[in-house]
């Protein structure tokens, strides 16, 4: 993948959040491994953005993580032309997908939750915020390490279908939610984290490139410190 570059990378999880290799910043107050959706709130959003948090606060945990990971990239998508946003792909890979939200919807069906019972909704949320028009892809993989979406992103970039691709790896499963239906842990690992990478070609960088894409997985794993279920 040496013809591609990572324009930006980000990670957030219980141990903190960051967007470079120098380390993670701690949350203002510790966030547990067993995170409920309401605990990642407007205060946390305000660490990354001064925009109105109302949309963020309507989301489920998976979307909040993806939304924050994209924001944490610190790429000014609004500065890109319409034509470039039209050629900015977005893809997500996950193992747990929307299962946490699925369980909560099955227990208490509410219209406001239903739209979040799809693992692809996070793509819609990010596309709406940054007016991105795709292409798009949403994968559920048992051995999630982000490799599938990264391969697809590379394909889009090399074929010219996209100029840049935002790749997301997200896992969100609350212990209490899973335990409420006695879901075995091997079916759905508990915990939460989100990671994002903006991939592109060197000539199209919206900012100074950070890493050579040949080290992509290594970089991401170092950044995530959670090799099994994050990008």
């Amino acid at each position: 993948m040496n013809d591609l570059v990572i324009h930006a990378a980000s990670y957030l999880g219980p141990e903190g959040f960051g967007n470079d290799l120098t380390g993670l910043r701690a949350w203002p107050s510790p966030l547990k491994e067993n995170l409920a959706v309401g605990e990642l709130d407007g205060l946390h959003w305000s660490l990354l953005s001064d925009s109105d948090p109302s949309r963020f606060l309507r989301m489920d945990l998976m979307c909040r993580l993806g939304f924050m990971a994209a924001e944490l990239l610190a790429v000014d998508f609004d500065a890109l032309s319409d034509a470039r946003r039209e050629r900015l792909g977005v893809c997500v890979e996950s193992f747990t997908g929307s299962l946490d939200t699925d369980i909560r919807f099955a227990q208490t069906p509410r219209p406001s939750i239903f739209a979040y019972t799809l693992p692809s909704t996070v793509i819609g949320e990010i596309c709406i915020r940054h007016r991105l028009k795709g292409p798009v892809l949403s994968l559920i993989s048992p051995d999630t390490n982000g490799a599938n979406v990264l391969a697809e992103a590379a394909d889009w970039l090399r074929s010219g279908e996209a100029e840049m691709v935002l790749c997301l790896g997200i896992e969100a499963m609350n212990v209490s939610t899973a335990n409420s239906i006695s879901l075995p842990e091997n079916l759905s690992p508990r915990g939460w984290h989100g990671a994002a990478l903006l991939l592109g070609r060197p000539e199209n960088s919206p900012r100074e490139k950070l890493f050579a894409a040949g080290r992509l997985l290594e970089v991401c794993r170092n950044l995530c410190s959670v090799p099994e279920h994050a990008c």
């Binding site: 946003r85 039209e86 977005v90 193992f95 997908g97 299962l99 699925d102 369980i103 919807f105 099955a106 227990q107 069906p109 509410r110 219209p111 239903f114 739209a115 019972t117 799809l118 693992p119 692809s120 909704t121 793509i123 819609g124 949320e125 596309c127 709406i128 940054h130 007016r131 991105l132 028009k133 795709g134 292409p135 798009v136 892809l137 949403s138 994968l139 559920i140 993989s141 048992p142 599938n148 391969a151 697809e152 394909d155 074929s159 279908e161 239906i181 006695s182 879901l183 075995p184 079916l187 759905s188």
Partner: protein, 397 residues
């Protein structure tokens, strides 16, 4: 000049729908322009309500359960496996020549075996297998193992474009040289979960969907499965149906409603046409998403006009036959398009009474023979503002 994805052919299809078990039953319903939607009294939340939808007949489910007791309470597995069995049988000779390690598998679903989750929440007994297959990734892995696909296994879950996105992924896997054959299966069920969701959004037509009709007020859910066997073109000797181009896009507009102007879908269509390297006027027929919701069908109409101008090809929707099968829809409707190309046949729009003037007048109410049909455009759209388009091509003899 050939493009990157247009060397992938369809070698066999299978389906389990409200119209019956198998492609033949489905094609009979298509030829008769007959609806298989049925009214049942179902529990939605805590109240019992009449629901018109495309249910797979209980006799079919019983038959499949009797043949596979291990998956008796995973209808998602049973339906997908039945569709795959038919598709694989249709492509038997080719599959026999391809080692298992060169066979990939892609599942397309929105909610996998969601019935098991409904039961768990109500503290009902669920088998370990049914529970495992709540997870789309495990349903995909189990189906891949059953059909001896030991190459790349993926699951696409992207709302109602899952099927077309899965077919696109299948083509990509073959093109990258990761597999010679990819089985693509789509499946989804009518469940308490899904009914509650669509009912809460007031998206259901209590009398049954009427796509592109002036009086349409909503969709009808459907359930079932479909499968398409994709192969490297070189493995087929006779003229084949090819995946010629594919594209996706996002509206960047609204989570549960389409953009009003259809610009997002038009973008996906243009991407697919560009991949296929054909001009819009080469398309002989469009198989629309056509859910029957007021906004979707109007949006699709705008998108078709945007791309084709005042020469919109004949188009129709099949959801009046079997309902909206969600994650299965793209695979199921593509299987119908493959049959249409093989038989030079255009599908009708069952349950249409009066065309909405917003829809181009090339809307087909009834099925008919095609004079010349080389390219079909298949489109789907979904929650999250997603759009997908696939161009299928019939090779000349």
């Amino acid at each position: 000049m050939e493009t990157a994805v247009n060397k992938i052919a369809s070698a066999g299809c299978g389906a389990v729908t409200a119209a019956g078990l198998g492609m033949e039953a489905l094609q009979r319903a298509v030829a008769a322009n007959a609806s298989a939607l049925q009214r049942r009294e179902l529990l939605i939340g805590k109240t019992s309500q009449p629901v018109v939808a495309g249910f797979v007949a209980d006799e079919i489910t019983s038959q499949l359960r009797a043949a596979d007791a291990a998956h008796a309470d995973s209808r998602a597995f049973l339906f997908a496996a039945a569709a795959l069995k038919e598709a694989v049988k249709n492509a038997e000779k080719i599959l026999d020549s391809v080692p298992a390690a060169r066979r990939g598998f892609i599942l397309s679903t929105t909610k996998a075996n969601i019935e098991a989750l409904d039961k768990l929440v109500r503290q009902q007994i669920v088998s370990a297998v049914a529970q495992r297959q709540i997870q789309p990734a495990f349903l995909a892995a189990d189906l891949a193992e059953t059909f001896d696909c030991r190459g790349t296994v993926q699951c696409v879950s992207a709302a109602c474009i899952s099927g077309l996105s899965a077919l696109q992924q299948g083509a990509v896997i073959i093109r990258r040289g990761l597999a010679d054959v990819v089985l693509v299966a789509g499946v989804d069920l009518i469940s308490q979960f899904v009914l509650s969701g669509f009912n809460s959004l007031k998206s259901l037509d209590p009398e049954g969907c009427r796509p592109f009709d002036k009086a349409r007020i909503g969709l009808s859910l459907g359930e079932g499965a479909a499968a398409v066997v994709l192969v490297k073109r070189e493995l087929l000797s006779s003229p084949a149906i090819l995946i010629s181009g594919a594209g996706t896009s996002n509206d960047a507009n609204h989570l549960t409603g389409p953009s009003r102007d259809g610009s997002g879908l038009a973008l996906a269509i243009r991407r697919a046409l560009a991949k296929a390297q054909i001009a819009p006027d080469k398309i002989g027929y469009v198989h629309a998403h056509g859910t029957g919701t007021p906004y979707n069908d109007a949006m699709e109409s705008h998108a078709l006009r945007t791309v084709f101008g005042d020469r919109v090809p004949p188009f129709s929707s099949s959801k009046g036959i079997f309902g909206h099968t969600l994650g299965a829809a793209g695979v199921l409707e593509t299987a119908l398009c493959v049959a249409a190309l093989q038989n030079n046949f255009l599908l009708g729009t069952p349950r249409l009474r009066e065309r909405d003037p917003v829809a181009p007048d090339s809307l087909l109410a009834e099925p008919r023979a095609a004079l010349k049909l080389d390219f079909i455009l298949k489109i789907n759209c979904g929650f999250g503002g997603t759009n997908a388009a696939l161009v299928l091509k019939r090779e000349s003899p």
